[in-house]
């Protein structure tokens, strides 16, 4: 039997192998307990790495960064600046990114996005669509269209979407959908380039996040039935 190199084993663990090599590694893993133990050790190491740095990516964005990124736009004018506890840098950034609508509607239940603990998450109709809409079975005139559904390398379910106001990629975080990428939606196309699930920026994000393949209709349905856990 051919030995599986450490590089190949790790590429397997990282989801970087083509089908043929993947099968070869799997066949060896089934026979070779020492190899399987090495894979387990590497997987546990990866999990530890992810876990120890995750809190930073989940923590609220410190004010110093929010200030840095909002300052150049001289946005610190009326409503936000007077209410220090109500404004969030992320909210301002979001309004920069999407024009007036989020600025006016963030904090409004009708807005597609809100800031929870410093994270941009989907809410309202967008959350509803991400929670319940199947790409394999969605009305052609759906307000939000789900693009691809897939598992990220860290195991989270993620979905790309495009809608009237925003398009992007969101990944499951608890019961929320956290935005990994946000782009202006269809309505903003006069001002910005139109974003859709075919948008190369979205494809690039999907490709970067995705562990393996997009979910097919059956896998998507199973994800939904399992509450995207």
């Amino acid at each position: 039997m051919t030995a599986i190199s450490e590089e190949m084993l790790l590429a397997y663990a990282d989801g970087e192998l083509d089908e043929v090599s993947r099968r070869r590694v799997e066949a060896s893993l089934a026979r070779d307990q020492a190899l399987a133990a090495r894979l387990a050790a590497h997987r546990s190491l990866t999990a530890k790495l992810v876990e120890s740095y995750a809190p930073l990516a989940e923590a609220p964005v410190p004010d110093r960064f929010a200030a840095l990124l909002t300052q150049p736009q001289k946005i610190a004018s009326k409503p936000f600046a007077r209410r220090p506890f109500a404004w969030s840098g992320l909210a301002i950034a979001a309004s920069l990114a999407f024009g007036v609508f989020v600025g006016q509607e963030l904090g409004n239940k009708a807005a597609p996005l809100s800031v929870q603990r410093g994270q941009l998450v989907a809410q309202g109709a967008l959350k509803e669509a991400l929670d319940t809409q199947l790409a394999s079975n969605q009305p052609t005139d759906a307000a939000t269209r789900i693009g691809l559904t897939f598992r990220a390398k860290d195991g989270r379910w993620c979905r790309s979407f495009d809608g009237r106001d925003v398009a992007g990629v969101a990944c499951r975080a608890g019961t929320d959908w956290r935005l990994e990428q946000v782009l202006p939606g269809r309505v903003s196309q006069a001002e910005f380039r139109q974003a859709s699930s075919e948008d190369e920026r979205i494809s690039a994000t999907v490709e970067a996040l995705m562990a393996d393949q997009p979910a097919d209709a059956r896998a998507e349905k199973m994800g939904l039935d399992d509450d995207w856990k």
């Binding site: 450490e6 590089e7 790790l10 590429a11 990282d14 970087e16 133990a37 387990a40 050790a41 590497h42 546990s44 190491l45 990866t46 530890k48 790495l49 992810v50 120890s52 740095y53 995750a54 809190p55 930073l56 990516a57 989940e58 923590a59 964005v61 410190p62 110093r64 960064f65 929010a66 840095l68 990124l69 909002t70 150049p72 736009q73 840098g89 992320l90 950034a93 979001a94 309004s95 920069l96 990114a97 999407f98 410093g118 994270q119 941009l120 990220a152 390398k153 860290d154 935005l179 990428q181 946000v182 782009l183 202006p184 910005f192 380039r193 190369e200 920026r201 690039a204 970067a208 996040l209």
Partner: protein, 162 residues
């Protein structure tokens, strides 16, 4: 206009990347700040339609390398004095905060820079090999062999067989 917004949306991931390169999250945030400032200054170098996150990772990584070089020079300059007072090298004193004191943080801090950065990009940030190799501007073979060496070293440092 969208540029700042997209940067801000990336900040959580950038802080994580910065922390995994640095010895602790305070140093990481300084690095993150420097990278954001650099990005704002050189925004016209970013091409719309290309990956902003890859561009930012590259900026941050290059700043970190520069910083590490400067530190090494400083350490060489001040080495006799430090040895005299028995303080040890600067890095050890910095290991204080949550990430720094964890086994993982300590082990990461002991890896050579070239291994730490591939681990940070591929395992912590979850980039595909191809993307990580592009950020670092190294061939795929170099990336994969650094990944093997870095992970093997981490497993040894963390003293675990499983």
């Amino acid at each position: 206009m969208a540029f700042e917004g997209e940067l801000l949306a990336l900040v959580p991931r950038l802080r994580r990347f910065a922390a995994s390169l640095s010895r602790n999250s305070a140093d990481g945030d300084d690095l993150c700040q420097a990278a954001l400032e650099r990005a704002l200054k050189s925004r016209e170098q970013w091409q719309e339609g290309t990956r902003l996150d890859s561009w930012m990772y590259r900026i941050m990584r290059n700043l970190w390398i520069d910083e590490a070089r400067a530190r090494r020079r400083a350490a060489q300059t001040f080495a006799p004095e430090e040895a005299g007072t028995g303080i040890g090298h600067a890095g050890d004193r910095d290991i204080e905060d949550a990430i720094g004191v964890s086994d993982v943080g300590r082990a990461m801090a002991r890896l050579p820079a070239e291994q730490r950065e591939v681990i940070a990009l591929v395992l912590v940030e979850g980039l595909a090999y191809k993307e990580a190799a592009a950020v670092l501007d190294i061939p795929m073979g170099t990336l994969t062999s650094r990944l093997v060496r870095g992970r093997t070293a981490l497993l040894e440092l963390m003293g675990e067989a499983a």
